[in-house]
Amino acid sequence: MQPNGKKDGNTHTLSVTVANKPGVLARIAHVFARRGFNIDSLVVSASVEGDFSRMTITATGDPGGLEQIIRQVNKLVDVIHCTDHTGEDIVLKELALIKVHTGPAARAEALQIAAHFGAASVDLTETSMILMATADSEQIDALLALLKKFKIVELVRTGKVVMARGEQPT
């Protein structure tokens, strides 16, 4: 059981708090690129304090290398802190918009599947619908697998965002 939706030992979810200065994203991306790590997803948003941003980065690669990357990211002047939340008690969600090709005949079944995953229809036309799902990455994967029987025309996923549970700061 992997509570945070970790796929395997090589996928890590990092949370990075940064000062809102130009170039900070490029500097962080450089550290990953130089060590040959692929960034699977990246979300940047404002944090509670206006001068700072919060990044959530999912990356794949060997754990030893990642530890080094975390230390090097922490070393960047504009990074306040960078933590690996892999294996910790956290809430991890992502949002997906899925455009499915559905005629009137298939519509009901598609909606039924969506409802099971707590996804909602946010656009509906004669030939298509857009479903919006907010869930763990695994649940979204499962939803997509079931929707494959219809034609998935377009797919957008935000990438994961995380927050530590309870009093624990992220």
């Binding site: 940064v18 000062a19 130009p22 170039g23 490029a26 500097r27 450089h30 130089r34 001068d51 700072f52 530890e67 080094q68 230390r71 090097q72 922490n74 070393k75 960047l76 002047v77 504009d78 990074v79 306040i80």
Partner: protein
Amino acid sequence: MSINKLDGAQALVKCLENEGVEYIFGIPGGVTIPIFDAFVTTGTKIKFILCRHEQAATHMADGYARATGRPAVVLVTSGPGATNTLTGIMTAHMDSIPMIVVSGQVLAAMLGKDAFQEADIYGMTMPVVKHSYLVHAPNDIPRVVREAFHIATSGRPGPVLIDMPKNVSVGPFTADLRAEMDLPGYQPQPEAFDKAAVQAIAEALSRAVRPVILAGHGVIIADACAAVKLLAEKLNAPVVTTLLGKGGFPETHPLSLGMLGMHGTAYANKAVSECDLLLNIGSRFDDRILGLPALFCRNAVKIHIDIDPSEIGKMIVPDLHCVGDARLVVEQLLKQTSRLDTTDWLKRLNGYQRDYPLQYRRTDGLKVQHVVEEVYALTGGRAIAVTDVGQHQMWTAQFWKVDQRHNWLSSGGAGTMGYGFPAALGAQFGRPQDLVVAFVGDGGFQMTLCELATACVHKLPVKVFIMNNRYLGMVRQWQEMFYDDRRSGVDLEGNPDFAKLAEAYGARGLRLKRTADVRKIITRALEYNDGPCVVDCHVMKEENVFPMVPAGKALDDMLITAPGKRRKTAAGEKQ
């Protein structure tokens, strides 16, 4: 012009002045004309040194910084002026040198539009700077300059780039010249090291039978030299130094084993291979000192003291470590350690020193080692020694014993050919009273020899010994040893007559061709102080550097002498 109404360029000059800047090294260009104008209009005391190439300007600043321990400043124009500094910035970054590079930039409104002499130097330098700035408004200048100096000099030092668009230089400045820093993500706390970790290190030391102290550049940067000396004497522990750690512990001290690594002394490498505890103070376990990392110090407790947390476990996973300022940590350690009896261990190492000394024959012909030893003897070892990169660098590192920090300047991590000569000039600017000798190769010297002009203009009495073997010698050595002597791209045919070339610039040019003349010519060079003196030393073409740890071999697998002739491995067997 009223000084009350400054523009951005004038504010920049004032701020640099407030940081105590003495010299700025560089070359002007279109977008930096306002800054050069501000040198005049502010009547600043800062002296601008006009170099002949921007790369050389960065090395000159680097040499100034290494010889004085103070940050150095470079000023170049946009585009090619800025890109020419990349090698020097990377050299400073690899060796943790505090340097501020101010580059002019095109008007902010033209950024990203391929304007004349526009280069995204902010983006290009990102992987090789400690931090960088693209200044947006004149009023940001005091904060940016303050932060740049703080970042460059604190924690683990490094280069900082300040990219100044022309509109920022000419725009009106209306703020206070003193500004607060705003660096929430940069709070180095060298004094906040883990006391429990130091206690654990002290306990490990008390159990050591065959300890070795590895002194790196961090010892010099943190001025931990006195503390490390006390610790070594208290523990009776031998000390090996890295290339950049030379001067951190006196190499004439009986406990010094000299430099370790690929071309280190046999006894230093044997000490490291056979020790039961390695205390690394301020070295980043560079690959040139490890041999085969998996076999490095394989039976020893490995301890790493470093100010940079990202160095812990990067190359070698230590058994114990402490992140902090080398001086403060070692001073704390001194309080908690007691004397060790290492008599047997030192006896064994003394045996190695006797059996495997650094050696060469003076009778074969003129050798770099001979010249280095003679210059050392004639200067009493008190000169600031600067090297370029290659064979001569390794020989100088082997034979030139450094007793004081800031007296040894060499490009380590980057291995930048062309570094030595301009760095020596920078050192002479920073320490005008001290003797500066530079050992360079004929290859490296030709990469930055245009600075002969700068040296002559300022009458810098630097002695430059060109170890001229008409080869790119280190590559030739590798080709001979590992590529069946298939020589490719290493013959420096077309070398000029360096003595004549020096004279053409107005420097003194001397030639050294015969072993018998070594002392005479060096004395003549040392006696000339009206400007630079270049000694073209025609050394043997095909001498190789030994000992050598071949790439991919363990440290104790080193070749102590040339294979084929009188091959001896560390184990002592003849082959």
